[in-house]
């Protein structure tokens, strides 16, 4: 399996290359938006010099393009690549193209509406912020397109299981199916929010909306979204990284257990984003908090399993002491340029992970809620391990599917290290500033960082400046990466073949346990449904009965009640 190659059809090859290249362009626009965010917050700019518009428009396209559009495209591309590859079955390209076209049409529509300034609702697009209907329709198309991709893989998976009774499903397939099971369940809630609440409200068909219900449905989706981002990275950590390091995956069962635990615990956790919201009783928030602690468990198992796998590789490379295996890994081997994207992400995730536990610790959330700590934290997750793994994966796949050798490997190899330095500086500034009270989602450049403002907070300025320095370094690192990415895309093809012979660095397991109890998704999906019913029924009951009929009506344009 480890040196196995699979021939993709010409159509699949073009589709997968497009699913990587187009969102890479959108990612760059989003990352430019991120740099502008830091400049806005420091008061260096008051309006975007290229795109135009204010801080909030920039915040919206930075979040939507990077955290929703790019990640969804990449996850679909990775599934379209790894599932046919691992199952040795051809992809139904007609359905796959339909999925890609839906996703692309939706993303372009949402991006246009955002850039026109008609959907300045941030990436957490719940009310009272209201967007142009095109924004909601665009996101719906993106999500439906990703569902189509998933539904395209299910028959391949079932057919393979029928033909290979008694055999374990390849770990990469288990990981990708897990990712999209979570995505499907999570997006059902946001589909209800969009189709039955936000879209009719945006179209003017209804004039009232239950804000608390919409927020609850959003966070039903919003936190599992984190695992939709994270799991494709986990797939690459478990499946690719041990081999790239020169070793084997320490335990195949650990990987399977981790994915099944994510199925169980990813969804009933959303209310920990609503600790400070009214209308939901505190005991149900606590239940979601406990489940959030439970969902840390698979990440801890992952930390140990990957450390053991890397130790195995290090010892094969001659390490003998307790920790010197850490120094026997291919950190600066240009030929193994993919490894730095994965290892830097794991180092960053140490800090991202513990930040998440702090956020989820009910009463401790009071000291970080709605402060700059929160973007400091989630940049250490989605803009750390997730983005870096996706950038590495994108470069690897674009080379494979376009039949091209990776160009500027040195640039590719060094970019995650530069990015990590920038990210740690920026997140430190945001997190410490947040602990001092610096708010998130606020143009501090016009207020707290502006010496002419009565709100001026001189103590925060150093931390805001750190986020500018860190953000600029991150931007430079991405530009260095893009030299390699687009250098590869526009280089001459080395392949003269019609299709595309693709190879992935699939790791062999050191301990290949039978794991019979982890071979079927069904029991874990049933447990998930039970946990969702138990954890969300009382929450939904609370938000329906305690707020909607009793609260005064407000317009999104005014803080004063309408009557």
């Amino acid at each position: 399996m480890s040196d196995y190659s699979f021939r993709f059809t010409k159509s699949s090859k073009y589709l997968n290359a497009a699913l990587i290249i187009i969102p890479m362009v959108l990612l760059f626009i989003g990352i430019y938006g991120g740099l502008m965010q830091t400049l806005f917050r420091a008061g260096i700019i008051q309006s975007d010099p290229f795109v135009g518009g204010d801080y909030y428009k920039g915040l919206t396209f930075h979040g939507v393009l990077n955290a929703i559009v790019f990640t969804t495209f990449f996850a679909v591309a990775l599934g379209n690549a790894l599932i046919p590859y691992s199952l040795k079955k051809p992809l139904n390209t007609k359905v796959a193209w339909a999925s890609g076209i839906l996703m692309l049409a939706g993303s372009v529509l949402a991006a246009i509406v955002i850039l026109m300034g008609e959907a300045t609702v941030l990436y957490t697009f719940y009310p009272p912020l209201k967007a142009h209907p095109g924004f909601y329709i665009g996101l719906t198309l993106l999500v439906v397109g990703s569902w189509v991709a998933f539904f395209n893989w299910i028959p391949m998976y079932l057919e393979w299981r029928k033909e290979n009774e008694g055999k374990k499903t390849p770990l990469a397939v288990v990981g990708m199916m897990t990712t999209f099971i979570i995505w499907l369940v999570a997006t059902l809630a946001v589909a209800v929010e969009i189709l039955f609440m936000l879209l009719p409200w945006s179209l003017g068909l209804v004039d009232q909306i239950n804000v608390m219900l919409a927020r609850t449905l959003f966070w039903f989706f919003g936190h599992p979204l984190v695992y939709f981002w994270l799991l494709p990275a986990y797939v690459m950590y478990y499946v690719f990284m041990p081999k790239l390091a020169g070793g084997k995956l320490f335990s195949d069962m650990a990987g399977r257990l981790v994915f099944m635990l994510f199925i169980i615990f990813s969804i009933p956790v959303g209310t920990h984003h609503q600790y400070m919201d009214p209308a939901i009783s505190s005991q149900w928030k606590l239940v979601h908090g406990i489940f959030t602690f439970a969902v840390a468990l698979p990440s801890l198992i992952t930390a140990f399993t990957l450390a053991a796998s890397l130790e195995h590789a290090g010892r094969k490379n001659g390490a003998t002491g307790l920790f010197d295996w850490m120094w026997k890994l291919p950190y600066f081997d240009k030929e193994k340029w993919f490894f730095p994207f994965l290892i830097t992400g794991l180092i960053i995730f140490i800090f991202g992970g513990i930040g998440g536990i702090v956020n989820a610790s009910y009463s401790m959330n009071t000291i970080v809620h709605n402060t700059a700590w929160i973007p400091g934290h989630f940049h250490l997750t989605v803009a750390g391990p997730v983005l870096l793994a996706f950038l590495g994966g994108s470069l690897y796949m674009v080379g494979q599917f376009m039949g091209k050798k990776i160009r500027f490997k040195g640039f590719a190899m060094i970019s995650p290290y530069i990015y990590t330095i920038g990210l740690l500086i920026m997140s430190y500034g945001l997190k410490v500033g947040g602990l001092m009270g610096m708010p998130r989602r606020t143009n501090t450049g016009a207020s707290y960082a502006n010496p002419d403002s009565v709100l001026y907070q001189p103590d925060w300025v150093a931390y805001i400046d750190m986020s500018v320095i860190g953000g600029s370094i991150m931007f430079i690192a991405v530009v260095i990466y893009l030299v390699s990415f687009f250098g590869t895309v526009f280089s001459k093809s080395d392949s003269t073949e019609e299709g595309s012979v693709v190879t992935f660095p699939i790791s062999e397991p050191l301990h290949d346990e039978p794991s019979t109890w982890l071979r079927n998704f069904k029991p874990f999906i049933i447990i998930l449904i039970i946990l969702i019913v138990l954890s969300y029924t009382p929450v939904i009951y609370d938000v329906i009965t305690t707020t909607y009929d009793t609260s005064l009506p407000y317009s999104p344009n005014s803080p004063v009640p309408l009557r």
Partner: protein, 43 residues
């Protein structure tokens, strides 16, 4: 060569990973309790 590799794999005990994991939990505890006492300090 292959025998040596098999031997290495059979003998492999991830002592370094266990030590790393213990240090990781200690680091997590320090950060978590740091924030916890920060919270108590604000009461």
């Amino acid at each position: 060569m292959e025998n040596k590799e098999t031997e290495h794999e059979e003998e492999f005990k991830p002592k370094g990973a266990v030590a790393f994991f213990i240090l990781l939990i200690i680091l997590f505890s320090i950060i978590w309790f740091g924030l916890y006492f920060e919270m108590l300090g604000r009461v």
